[in-house]
Subunit: 188 residues, 6 copies
């Protein structure tokens, strides 16, 4: 039996399925760890699979946004919501994918003062406004993304990634999900 | 070719798969309509399936929360975010599941002034705080849910439903998703 | 003796005057009900008359704003303040005067995503800014209304209606005023 | 013809009625000035009368609240809304009625740090919460006033005065109403 | 032994040094009083000197900003933070340096509705944004000051004065520092 | 001539005095770098000295607060204000003084979810409330610190450190002050 990395008094009551065990083994091989968010969801494999299917499509599938851009959105959104888990895990991803530790810190601390391209500023301004004041997103905001060179399909992806982290930030906050300690020193 | 019910200039470029068509037919049969959110996602069946898998698990699977309770959370969260799509579609669901049109209106307008049981007030206060100030959720908030009779497993579900609507509210806002007109007059 | 439709432990201690009774009879005849706000004020006929004199002048007297426009302001303001009473009663009025149930819902839920004329958008943007951040209203805001075609006399009326609902929303909230149930199903 | 003390390009087009002229003469005699708010409304005597009827009933009629208490509420509310007109005119009234210039300044600047009785703190906390977050007023807030010694009839009056200044603050802001200069040096 | 003009149970345990006594005597001679902030800091002469050195440099040394302009910034910032001490002491300074009591009141109540030059509006808008939303200050904000005629050296001074009052407002709030009563009637 | 590490077009026009040069040499020897904030202030040695005198007294002098506690306050305050300079430099200090890299990250990201002693939680809650809502600090807040074991003299120090970073955060934001790159990898 495994205590989950959250503040909830919940345990996994059944052994992992072979498929999930294989997925966790793959994580360990490729990342050096099984992200705690996967362990947190592992008490129910249906929920775990729904989470990873959506996550993997959004963050890893083909898109007009690079993987680094998607991680930048993840961190800028998580900074608004002050999510310790996501800032830690995805801050490491920005450092790693960009090879620029300072960029990771800027996304965590205040993306506005980073020296960003017009494309990246427009992308993050949209993601952060969508996070802070979703009711005030109007056609002018979409128009701004188009002027910065994004297609309407890209807008869908920016919106979907920003929205997804507004979900996971809140799951993490609600259950006090704890990131793997290894992230803190990665790619510094 | 089908224009999607959003402000994005995107179309579905391929016919629906048989599986998806069958799902839409089932919706039409059971609900009298295909919810526009499904059409909005239908330009990419992987994304559509990730969305429906998560949605159906959260809102319809076995849980310590009744379906009505999950819909009440959906509407209270969507009211904070002022999401026209979700308030319309899930407001109708609250009216229908409760048989109490006034309860639906109260969830849309101001859940705080509704005449709620201690259980429902604790549940909605948590969901709304998680929406407005996720960084301030602490053990005391979880403790409050336990004192209102919720198990830790229930807390996961409250958190997950509230978090999910924080995602969909923002996808809907970002793309100006439009609800089916039929919802407005349902169960009044 | 009559218990008033509020949370205050207050009753009307004297019978209604003939004049007030006649007014209530007229309401019943024309609207099918006596609005609960009138009953709430009926414990003191001086206060009731001061309220109805101001209300009737603002909402019904000759103005550059149509009655529907005034009701749209009423609902958009009440949405900011999340006033259950006013959203219910004046949401019904918007549905009825416009013959467009969806318009009523949009005013309740999020006027910004409604498909509004430039005139109506300017009018509601001003009313909502005046509600949320009155200290920041400057000449540029008035100028914006003039550019949208409003006269300075119209600006007075927009301001007065928006300000009035900022008052009544707060009286209703303070005493937990309850709207007549009949409004919920009207003009759906 | 008289230019009104606001930023609107509006003038009074007819001479004042005898009744209104007499009222203004009385103001001049008793206060040493005609408050600019009355001049601002004087372009339409129906609106002027609706305003003064409500104002005089709320601020001067018999009530469980003293006139000073009602003026303290007026200023604390106007401080939240940063209304130059009302802070000036009613700040002077607090100084005059209390004989305590510092009390007037405290109401303008930050009522919370004033050395207040429990009764006055409860009264102002309620008025300010009603101003800032009307949607969050619940039975517990009313209960707090009762515990501080207020009757339910007093609660109506606290609410009505606080709500009224939420109206007038916004009319003044919308039209840039200017207070009479004489107020600044009164009762210092 | 001297009780300090704050809510802290702290006393000065040693007599003032000759140098500090001479400074206080000078204050009494020139201002008619020893500002309570100096007494509050007098329990530790190192802290007192650090405070006065910084204050005197910022507010009195040669600068592209006049002394009145620096005091206007002080009051506009203190108004955002609702600091009773600083609004009282520096409100008096604005009245005195400008010879315009109304200007002092406008800075306390709502600088936005004052009839300001473009230079002063740009200066105060920057100071207030820096107070309310420092994370959102970008190059465009600095550019705005340059367009209003400020040098980069002036921008440093605007920033430093605004920032300093964000410090002192909070020290005053934290210890409930009380201003000398004499300020209230000065220069009215 | 030296370009300063800010966005202002300002240069140091005179060579550093011997005393300042010696101070900078000492920094380089002990810290391995001259903190950019000192270079930023070096255009005017009076301002530089006023800054360092206050900083050194607050952060390094004898106090009931440990140096680590003062750095924790610095970072928690800077996190509210999202100050890239101070989060970077003082985040490094927390990591170094505590020997706990995760503690530094928690202060930057969300101190509330850190596993803190009651003393540290009370200290940081006060510092953050003083940062966010200084006008609402009341005797109860000071009482809370006393109950957590702080003396009134300690309260002065908590307040002074929190207030100081509210100043420096804003100077840094106003001039876009850039931290030395070396901080990012220190004590990870």
């Amino acid at each position: 039996m495994h205590t989950l990395p959250t503040a909830l008094h919940m345990d996994r009551t059944e052994p992992l399925s072979d498929k999930t065990q294989a997925y966790f083994d793959l994580c360990k091989e490729k990342l050096g760890l099984v992200p705690n968010v996967l362990l947190a969801y592992s008490f129910d494999e249906t929920k775990l699979r729904a989470f990873t299917d959506m996550y993997n499509d959004l963050m890893l599938a083909k898109s007009g946004l690079s993987k680094l851009e998607r991680e930048m959105i993840a961190v800028a959104v998580s900074s608004v919501n002050r999510c310790f888990y996501c800032l830690t895990a995805h801050g490491a991803a920005v450092r790693e994918l960009s090879g620029d530790p300072k960029l990771g810190e800027l996304m965590v601390m205040n993306y506005r003062v980073a020296d960003l391209s017009a494309r990246h500023r427009a992308m993050l301004d949209f993601a952060v406004k969508l996070t802070e004041r979703p009711a005030e997103i109007l056609e002018g905001d979409r128009e701004g993304l188009r002027e910065a060179g994004f297609t309407d399909r890209d807008i869908w992806d920016i919106a979907s990634v920003a929205a997804f982290f507004n979900m996971t930030n809140r799951v993490a906050a609600a259950v006090d999900m704890r990131p793997n300690d290894e992230y803190h020193s990665m790619a510094r």
